[in-house]
Each structure stands twice: as C-alpha cells, then as structure tokens.
Symmetry: C2
C-alpha cells in the first residue's frame, strides 16, 4: 500500500515545482525553478516557542532562497490533525512537518530516543550527540523506511517536573497520583504506582481545576505561565527529570527533498540548523522572565523533588529505557550510542557546566 502511495506522490511532487526555466546542457543550476511546499505541525498556529519554529523556518527558507522555495505553515488541525503529521509528510500530503519524534512511537518505538528520555541528555548534549556523535545518522536510518528525512529543529531546554495539587514528599505520594505525563515519563509514573494520563494541552487547565487530574507536566515557565496553571495548582516542582532537553524535529518528505536542487537542499538544512538554536535561545530568555513573574507576581510555590524520590524515579527510568532498547536491532544500536555519549558527557559536564553554575551562585 505504501509503495503505491509513494508512486502516486512522486508524480504529484513532480508537478509541484512551477518550472519557468530548465537546466542547460552543462548541468548548471536551474535557479529559476520555484517550489511551493506545505508545512504541517503538531502545534497550534503561532503557539509561543514551539509554534514559532515552523514560522521561522519558513521565513528563513523564503528569504535565503529569494522566494524560490516558499512554505505555507498550517497549524494543528488546519490541514491534518496534530497526530497525523508524520503520516501526512510520509505520504507527501505535505512536504514538511514540525513536531516531536516521541509522538511517533506508535510507528517505531525507538523514535522516543530523538526527543528526550528520562534522565538522559540535555539540549546541549543532545545537539552534540546528534551532530558530532552519530545520533543524526541513526535517526535518518530509523526514519528512512517512512520516506522521511529528519532534522533537529528546536529545544525547550530542561523542562519543569510539573504542576501538582499534592505534595510529593516520598514515593508513596506518587501512588495513585493521576498525572498528565505522556511517553516514557508516563511509563515511569505508571511503574511507580501512579496513573499516567495523556490529554491535549487545551484540556489541562480545566482538568486540573476540576480534579480530573492531580498533576500535569507541560513545558516550563514561558509556556506554563501563558496557560495559567498557577491559578489551578498548588505546587510547581523541579527538576524536569522526564524531559531534560527535548529536541523538536523537522521532517521532510524524502522525494520532495530529493527533487530540490542542491542549493535549496542546503538552504533547508541550514534553516533547520538555525531554527534549532533559535528556539532554545527564545526559551532561555523567556523562561527566565516568566519564572520571575510566576514567583514574584503570582506567588507560585516552587519546590524541589526530594532526593530519594529523584533517585527512585531514576532507577525506574533506567528500566524503562532498557526495555525500549530491547525492542529492535536498531533500538539497541541507538541506545548504545546515546548511552556511551551520556557517560562521557556526565563526566565532563560535572566539572564544566554544572561546576560553573555552582561556582557562580555560591
């Protein structure tokens, strides 16, 4: 079935470029050919931070290509629902998608490794692993059967552990806790005796207010402040053990990418790389000021998860990640690559980044 769809799409894509000139016999660049692409996202249109990345990407590509590649951005639900982005780009309904790889674990479980794993790499380390540690090559190998070329395209930085209406003083307090926490973090909470719930961001405020859930993680101060969680939750816990440096993804339909001349391919790659850093810059700046506002204006009670709770969550997380690693042959290779990288990163960052943070504030 997929083969037929791909064949149809290849025809459709061939009609996508509005050709106004052809390459000459020397194979010189066909600089007049223009392309119009569609970009579908898992975020609401223009959602702060997460949703600004696809817009930034489209703007950068248009500017760098002098309008030869223009990309129209559709928010979640405008062209396809959020969780159909992967299929839509795989099949060529849209040429590009922006979201997070861990939404696609139903397609291939190992996709989770390329967003964030509990107690795994932070944003700086994820970027080091992806671009200089073999991570991106593994990601491309994983997505190849889906006719997709993935790029790293943004990060929120370390997230917060979440908003709670129950104090967490020991692991006993996690027993029976109804918490919105998707993915591997959710598996850990389940293993700890809690009840992990998955629901869209738009339903969280009311669910917290009415007590349908006792806790929810979302992102961090910048996005959380906008949702108003401080009005319906008692405590704001850190650190975000479950998503220490989630990388967002840009996925490009492989045939559409192959149909671009080399300069436009380089522009797509370069724009993704620029957006990848730009989003982290935005979160770094906005999270700071949002936290200050949450604490000083709204009096939010910011709390640290107790050390023994963190230690137990870490133990359970290792089990969850190890099970994921055993899923397939490629899962095993990805897990081994990232594990080796993390071992060295932890050794160095203890005496560099972490030691510096401590030295600066003591």
């Amino acid at each position: 079935m997929r083969i037929i769809i791909t064949a149809i799409m290849a025809l459709a894509l061939a009609g996508c470029g509005s050709k106004t000139a052809v390459s000459d016999s020397e194979g010189a660049l066909d600089t007049q050919q223009s392309f119009k692409w569609k970009l579908v996202t898992t975020w609401p249109k223009n959602y702060p931070g997460l949703g600004s990345a696809p817009e930034n990407f489209a703007n950068r590509v248009a500017a760098m290509s002098g309008g030869r590649l223009t990309i129209k951005v559709f928010g979640a639900g405008q062209l396809v629902p959020a969780f159909e982005v992967f299929d839509a780009v795989s099949q060529g309904t849209a040429q590009v998608g922006h979201g997070a790889s861990y939404y696609w674990t139903g397609k291939t479980k190992a996709a989770a490794f390329f967003t964030s794993v509990p107690f795994g790499l932070n944003a700086q380390e994820m970027n080091g692993w992806l671009h200089y540690g073999g991570g991106l090559e593994l990601w491309r190998e994983l997505y190849e059967p889906f006719n997709l070329v993935p790029f790293a395209a943004g990060s929120t930085g370390v997230q917060m552990a979440g908003w709670f209406n129950r104090e967490i003083n020991s692991m006993d307090d996690i027993k029976g806790l109804k918490m919105r926490i998707p993915g591997l973090g959710g598996d850990v909470i389940t293993r700890a005796g809690g009840v992990s719930v998955t629901m869209p961001g738009g339903e969280l405020y009311t669910s917290m207010q009415t007590g349908v859930i006792d806790a929810t993680e979302w992102v961090g101060p910048y996005n959380d402040l906008a949702f108003g969680f401080h009005q319906v939750a008692k405590y704001y816990y850190y650190p975000g053990w479950h998503e220490p440096g989630p990388i967002l993804e840009l996925i490009v339909n492989k045939d559409a990418y192959a149909s671009l001349p080399k300069d436009l391919q380089a522009i797509v790659e370069g724009a993704a790389r620029a957006v990848n850093q730009d989003m982290l810059d935005e979160y770094t700046a906005r999270n700071n000021s949002a936290l200050v506002e949450l604490v000083e204006t709204h009096g939010v009670d910011v709390r640290k998860l107790p050390d023994d709770v963190v230690a137990e969550l870490r133990r359970l997380s290792a089990e969850v990640v190890e099970e994921l690693a055993e899923d397939t042959e490629i899962s095993r290779r990805i897990a081994e690559s990232v594990k080796a990288f993390q071992k060295q990163a932890m050794t160095y960052h203890e005496i560099s980044e972490e030691a510096y943070y401590r030295a600066r504030r003591q």
Copy 2:
C-alpha cells in the same frame, strides 16, 4: 582618515561582484550576480574547533548560494596577522573576519562583553541574551562606527580554569603566580596579586616546560589535549570561571554586506547562526572524549578550585566588570542589559539546568 579609507573601499567593493546580469525593471532578484569574498581569521588555518567554524561558514554559504557567494578562508598570518583581523575587515581588505570580540578591547573596551566576562553568562545564556535579550542590537551599535556588522559564530562552552604547576589551596597561592591569562580574567589575576601574561598559544608548551610561566589557561580538553599540556603541567583545574561560555564572532564589512542582494544577506545570517550552534556541538562532543583520554590514558590530576578561592575571584571579577561598565555610555548600557539578564538566568538555571545535572548524577 577612516572616512577616506571607507570611500576608497566602497569603490573597491563595487568592483567586487562579477556582474553577469542586471536586475530587471520590476526589481526582481539579480540571481546571476556572483561575489568572491575573503575571510581572515585569528586562528591558524583549520585549527580544531575554533578554526573549523570559518571553513564551515564558507562551505555553507557556497552551498546555499549555489556558488553565487564564494568565500576564501585565510588562516592567521596568511593575509593579515591574527590581531589585524578587525582592522582588515573594517577597512575592507577582507569582507569577513572570524575571531573573538575580546581581542578588540584596544579599539573599544566594551567589546569584551560580547565574548565572555568572568562569572558571567554561559554559552546557552549568551545566545539567549544576544538573540532574545537585546544583546546583538547593542553589539551592532558598538561596532557600527567601525563599519562592521557582528554575528555570533560559535562557542567552546565552559572552559577549564587551566593547567598549573603550583597547587592552588588558597588565595596566597595566586600571589606571584605567573599565568598566561588574557583579558578580564588576567585583570582579576593581577588584582589577586598574580602576574598575568599574554602570549600566543604556540609558545605556551615551552613556556610551561621551562618555567617561564607557572600556569596557563587555554580552552578545554579537546584543544588542550592536542597541545600536550598534560606533559608539562601537574594539575588541571576547574571550573573555568574566567570564560564560562565564550562566543566567537563573525564580523562582516558593512559596505560589503550592504552590497549583497537580500537573499545572500539572509544566507550570510543563516550560515552564521548554523555555525554558531555547530561549533558548540563539536566542542560538547569532543571535550567529553578528550577529558576521558586525559584522565584515563594520561593520568591527569583534575582538581577543583577551592570554594573560598572561587568566592574571592568572584568578588574581584565583579570589581573588574564594574570598572569596564564605567568606561563609556554604551558600556554602561551593555553592562546593565547583561546584568539584568544574568540575574534572571541564574534564578531559572539554578532550578533547571543545574538542578538537572545534579539530579542525574546523584
């Protein structure tokens, strides 16, 4: 004098593009005009990490522009000496330069703020401040009188405090210490009773070996291992309080930049942004493995600066930065901008990045 030079250069630059087509009356892009630029750097040609950024930049620009903007990279001394890069680009001898802003404090003292200040922002925070905290606009204002447009273009991450042949157990051990440490960090060491020395990287090994100096900072494990400092020094101290997240710079001659069509300007900006992250990714990956090699293969004695020494260096650093802030009106504005950003960054990063590093390893 500068005005005359600028006028001459404007003429020279006008001849720089090999025009093979002209814009039509609609103002459509002149996509056939090509430009050949020269890039001068403060690093030896292809120096690992630092020197790979200009090559990456040139490669990205050539690929994204389909060869319409080609940039030839000259290592330090090949076209102009390392410390004449600023003047060479300012005057248009070369169109682009890659180096570090704190080399140009002889031109304008406040340039130091845009690389790194002791106990200041780390790489993630510098990027947040530059791109979402008003930093880049201040940098452009500072460089405007020199006919230069600056871009952030790389970071090494937190550096190491350096290589020492004397144990540092108290501030008394810094008295009389002859240490190669340039810039504001050097001012701090001088204020602490040490002797700060400036000398090129190539002389450091022999100077350490012969006892001309007692200590030297350089970069971090990746670059330090290549220089072989472990063969001539007893102790490797952390953390790198003096350069917590140095940002490298790309400077573009303002007239040359203005002469580019808008798509090539966007490509220059986009390539700089991509290179900015790429270098940090490279250091993040390579520093990890180099530290492991230094410790496990070469048995390096890695030591932490004592807390009371760090506290005193921090106090002296604040004095040095405060004096810099008082230099000129724009120095004051830059200092206030970065200080406000740092205050919030420290509050948030204590409960996010730092708390996560600790939670992960405990």
